[in-house]
């Protein structure tokens, strides 16, 4: 085939490529598949060691670590790819395979909004020698990298050179130096010994310190926002989180089989678990190169949308509660409840459906339940309309939400803010349509709009979510209508070893990203989870500054933060593989025994 034809009609002409079977494709072919790749290659020719397509729409470049910032910023600031953002980065201890560490920013390149066949992922992998795991920091120029670089510094012992804020992020301050949990040779006996000492920013002159959290009425999960206020006005904010870091990534690596990890993935989050489950399953399916049946795709999409519906309702309830509008809270949750009941009937559980399996779904949607779904959808639509009518006519509620917590577009983009928070600030992104979700979900076969608002305040976030909710209802109706027949799963045999792929969905908070690298014997070598809150939270100080203490809970809630998603300490005993909690006596014993170590 000719090269130009290849470019234009890539999906129909190259079935193999679509499935990501183009391992044999040569460099020129790979680079000409998507816009910008060649340009990038020309620009950084000298520093690129390897260039390969992982699977459909995911391109991996192995580059020198010295050009990491330039390469990342090249994509991020590309004039044509306006909504391109650095999603996250993955640090891996590849000493067992390559004898090196690797650090890899993941860039979501947006050539054209809502066109999943033109947009693609770029993975910029940089190897670092085992004795000197350092790389030039991107964070100084790109705030989106602030947290992830602190994370790899904490968990893997990488040194981001020139990072503006090199405090600890994930590990507690009393964690011993030189022990890096995500390294493969981590010794499990190391444990915190002292009362934690936390580093905080110095309060500005003449301010009151208001600790918002870890246990505060306005924050559902432990997180600590240190507000420096003058009177009621917030002058500055410091954040300390990761109180509920569970080490899930570590648990998933090595010990569990890929199907067991799936259930673990579902339990990352209490309310968007299915998104994680689908993302993980998608990543594994992509690297195993398996096509799942259409019916499974539809069922997955259906469940995802149902989850979005009840999550948006949940959120709007919380938002109402944060400003003392308890009636709004109660009604939002009352409207939400039928979805839970419905889901309970479809999957067997209100939450944590356990519906997925790598290669498909576990339960079929029986025909008579379709009516029920439609009934619930109708109920929800009416209920929500009525609710919105009331809530948006509650003067006091609008007063609290309007013009509060404004996040400008530029800051949203710089922090790679995702999901409804970004869309309320004018970012036109939605992972359902932006990237190739068609192998795991059926979004390419339904019709829906992505609401975008430009105001950037809390009210805009409410409206974005409510608009999305109605779109989701419409999607559900379409899915029921178009639901194809057939199998609901395909078996997956042995996974290829040391293959990498990304899986992603658009959760109700934004894009969920799972990176999976397989190991030997159907196990997972590296599993990286990035929940949307991870990108949204760093932007909160910018939203809070200049507003009141009274607004703080609402602003914090407005991004719909999920700390447990974000902070993925329990101790895992590697010999028995069992999670156990140390008793105090054991603890003391350990500390005496290991005194020499520290």
């Amino acid at each position: 085939m000719s090269k130009s034809a290849f470019e234009v009609e890539v999906e129909c002409e190259c079935e193999a490529c679509e499935k990501g079977k183009c391992d044999s494709a040569d460099l020129v072919d790979v680079l000409s598949e998507r816009e910008g790749l060649k340009e990038f290659y020309e620009e950084f020719k000298d520093s690129i060691h390897e260039c390969r397509r992982l699977t459909y729409g995911q391109y991996l470049f192995v580059i020198d670590r010295d050009v990491l910032p330039e390469a990342t910023l090249w994509w991020h600031n590309h004039p044509r790819f306006k909504e391109t953002h650095m999603s996250t980065a993955v640090g891996t201890d590849e000493r067992a395979i390559a004898g090196k560490f690797s650090y890899m920013p993941l860039i979501n390149v947006q050539v054209e909004a809502e066109n999943m066949d033109r947009n693609f992922w770029v993975l910029l992998k940089a190897y670092m020698p085992a004795d000197d795991p350092s790389f030039p920091s991107v964070a100084a120029k790109l705030p989106a990298a602030l947290w992830i670089e602190r994370e790899v510094k904490d968990l893997l012992g990488f040194r981001p050179i020139g990072h503006p804020d090199p405090r600890r992020l994930i590990l507690p301050e009393d964690w011993p130096e030189g022990v890096y949990p995500l390294r493969k040779d981590m010794d499990y006996r190391h444990s915190p010994m002292r009362e934690p000492e936390t580093e905080f920013r110095e309060p500005p002159e003449g301010t009151t310190t208001v600790p918002m959290g870890p246990f505060h009425m306005g924050i559902e999960e432990p997180a600590h926002f240190r507000l420096f206020v003058k009177g009621e006005e917030i002058v500055d904010v410091d954040y300390r989180g990761f109180y509920s870091h569970r080490g899930i990534e570590k648990v998933g690596e090595g010990r569990l089989t890929y199907n067991q990890v799936l259930f673990l993935a579902e339990r990352i989050c209490g309310i968007c678990g299915y998104q994680h489950s689908v993302s993980y399953a998608m990543a594994v399916e992509r690297l195993a190169d398996v096509d799942i049946p259409d019916r499974a795709r539809y069922i997955r999409t259906l469940m995802l949308e149902l989850e979005r519906i009840h999550n948006h309702l949940l959120w709007v309830g919380i938002a109402a509660h944060m400003v003392g509008f308890d009636t709004g809270f109660m009604h939002a949750w009352r409207i939400r409840e039928p979805v839970m009941w419905l889901v309970e009937r479809l999957t067997g559980n209100r939450k944590q459906y356990g519906m997925n399996i790598v290669g498909g779904v576990r339960r079929d949607i029986l025909d008579y339940r379709k009516e029920e779904i439609l009934k619930v959808v109708k109920e929800i639509r009416e209920g929500t309309k009525k609710f919105l009518d009331i809530a948006l006519n509650t003067n006091t509620f609008i007063k609290r939400a309007e013009g509060v917590g404004i996040l400008p577009y530029k800051i949203a983009k710089a922090y790679s803010v995702l999901g409804p928070t970004a869309r309320a600030s004018g970012r036109r992104i939605d992972a359902r349509l932006d990237q190739a979700t068609k192998t795991a979900m059926a979004y390419n076969e339904v019709d829906f709009k992505v609401p975008v608002y430009k105001e950037g305040d809390v009210l805009a976030r409410v409206l974005v979510r409510m608009d999305e909710l109605f779109e989701s209802l419409w999607i559900v109706e379409q899915l029921i209508d178009q639901m194809p027949g057939g199998d609901i799963m395909v078996p997956i045999g042995k996974l290829p070893e040391y293959a990498e792929a990304l899986g992603f969905t658009e959760a109700h908070r934004g894009e969920v990203l799972h990176y999976v690298m397989t190991g030997e014997k159907n196990k997972v070598y590296r599993w990286k989870v990035r929940a949307p809150t991870y990108n949204n939270l760093p932007a909160i100080p910018d939203m809070l500054r200049g507003y009141n203490v009274a607004d703080a809970p609402l602003i914090i809630a407005s991004i719909d933060p999920c700390y447990s998603c974000t902070e993925r300490v329990q101790f895992v005993d590697v010999r028995t593989g069992r999670v156990r909690v140390l008793t105090e006596a054991e603890f003391n014993e350990l500390s005496i025994k290991n005194r020499g170590v520290f």
Partner: protein, 200 residues
């Protein structure tokens, strides 16, 4: 199932709202701990091990993501112990899917609050098969062996030969094989076998 309504019919008819007999404007809350909550028939509660069906194969243990199911061998007492801990269970029902005999039974129970943690643990003990040759316990349970015997197509396998060898430990099996060979061919024990035994 004593009811006359069939299971499918029951599934179709189940509606929480009707069950609770709540009108359009009435409160949606229920005085929960004082009344019984109706679970939908599809509800995936904590599983339950049916000791009568369980053969102790351990398929569930392999599939269980959170280690709620644990298998222990107690060779001294000749017991294989399958422990299920509901406190650890995440109700994914993988064990039910993989169980070859249907011994893991789904329930709609969800309330596991209790005063003592022991209430949450189910233990099934299986007798291990006994090696007639050397007097040690095998890794397999007696039921496992029975089960295997039942499902193997009898027309292919020589059941008698199988039965002879099934209840032997690895070592005994080897010895028996060698003995059989020697009977057939009249040769001595191979040297390596002897050496290995001596080491132990």
């Amino acid at each position: 199932m004593a009811e006359s309504v069939s299971y499918t019919e029951k599934l179709k008819a189940w509606n929480r709202k009707e069950v609770e007999k709540i009108g359009e404007k009435a409160p949606v809350t229920t005085p929960y701990p004082f009344i019984d909550i109706e679970k939908p028939p599809e509800y995936r509660g904590i599983p339950h091990i049916n000791p009568e069906k369980c053969v102790g194969c351990g398929a569930c243990v392999n599939a269980c993501p959170p280690d709620a199911l644990i298998m222990e061998w107690d060779k001294e007492h000749g017991v294989k112990r399958l422990t299920y801990n509901a406190a650890r269970c995440i109700r994914c029902a993988r064990c039910i899917e993989v169980c070859p005999t249907g011994a893991m039974e789904p329930t709609t129970r969800f309330e596991i609050a209790t005063n003592s943690k022991e209430d949450l643990v189910e233990v099934v003990e299986h007798r291990l098969a006994y090696c007639e040759e050397c007097g040690e316990y095998l890794d397999f349970t007696e039921r496992q062996i029975e089960y295997v015997k039942n499902i193997l197509p009898k027309e292919i396998f020589d059941m008698y030969a199988l039965e002879d060898r099934m209840k032997l430990t690895q070592d005994a099996k080897m010895r028996v094989t060698v003995e059989k060979l020697r009977e057939l061919e009249g040769v001595e024990y191979p040297a390596y076998l002897l050496a290995k035994r001596g080491d132990e």
